[in-house]
Amino acid sequence: MRITRYAAALAAAGVVLAGCSSDAGETADDAADNTAAVATDVEFEPGSTMAEIVEAGELRVGTKIDQPGFGLANTAGDPEGFDVEMAKLIAAKMGLTEDQITFTETVSANREPFLQNDQVDMVAATYTINDARKQVIDFAGPYYVAGQDIMVAAGNPEGIEGPEDLAGKTVCSVEGSTPAETIRSEYPEAELVLYDVYSKCADDLRNGNVTAVTTDNVILTSFVAGDPESFELVGNPFTEEPYGIGVQKGADDFRDFINDVLEESFEDGTWAEAWDRTAGAITDTEAPEPPTVDRY
């Protein structure tokens, strides 16, 4: 009897596993259906950055794999999200298929070195455009403008309406991030608690050890969507974080090309479609107005 029972359990587990894999397969199929058509008649000037990439037959992209909606690794280990869709869009316009994109994980602290050391051709990783970074790399875009916002416990017991209300309160963010720097310089009365990842901030907020968590609204909305019973978004963005595509310093031809691709996608609606099936699907929000590309 015992053997039969084990066999039944195994069979049940098999069904569950089979269920999972077919789900994943369907999701992948959906994604493939939705991605922009690969251009077939493209030709680049010999010696240009694009020509070199096409010749190598591989577009190397740095992205995040822990940012729901923008770049998050799925169960198969492949990143999915708005940043990833932007990379696929660019690859498609170069005549490269999805299989020819190599994704490498980049975290906030190593994005510039990855470009400087030629480990990736471009970085799409919730990458805020700023002047210090422009010293060592170049940016195409922006393709999205996020804003720093505040997340509080559900019901907002402390009545936080904006960053001014954080004076004397504990607010959690990530060490080395732009949002933490903003609080430090603009709202020094707030008491910063700095972890290495935002999930620890969410834990601390759930435990009541901090009053608020602050970072870009797109990151916070995914936490709220994941646990609406514990968290609430204040919904009053107080900075502008233009997300750009990082390219190697001096790769102006590639930067222009990406800007063209982005502007085209703003026009023909592929940009909004990409939003709807990634970040928009998670946070249940409409695609915003596309930003204006900054060709500096």
Binding site: A180, E181, V193, D196
Partner: protein, 216 residues
Amino acid sequence: MSFLADNFPLLRDAFLTTLSLAVLSGLVALVLGTVLAAMRVSPIAALRGLATFYVETFRNTPLTVVFFFLAFGIVYIDLQFPSRFITAVAALSLYTAAFVCEAVRSGINAVPPGQAEAARAIGLDFRQSLSTVVLPQAFRTVVPPLGSVWIALAKNTSIAAGFAVTDLTAVLQRLANANADQLAMVFIAVVAAYLLITLTSAWLIGILERRLAIVR
């Protein structure tokens, strides 16, 4: 260079935080580890078992997990450290004590059995013979391994950066992200600060070792 001058107060505070994390945890771990070592050689089986359990638990658990448990786990049994700095000191002390215990125990085992037997023969009980005869000799032989444990501890303090303590590693992350064009300078400054702690320690341990060496 002006970059370093601008950020000097931040680097100095971070250095002091790292140093005090290491020193406080080191002292607690030394005391706790010595008590544990005494328990592991004690004639009472329950104490031996307890100390062995402790050592095997903490020596075989990754330090990050210990940190995580103390920072986010014990909340669920309604416990809480008063500050994140104290959480870090607790995690580092508990973890390092297991290694101190094993180092001290190896020293105790290196003291010739005749010493303990002689102590018993003149009427000292277990506690007296351990504290006045065995341990003083044991500590002399364990200066090098305890030195290694201390240096490992000094570097392990960097885990605290991930748990809301602004130590050198946290400042490395902060400055590296805010100054993309000064990465090399940031790294050099932070590494130099760590080396200041570890190399000075290594040097002092060397002196201590020569002073205390037993001429046999």
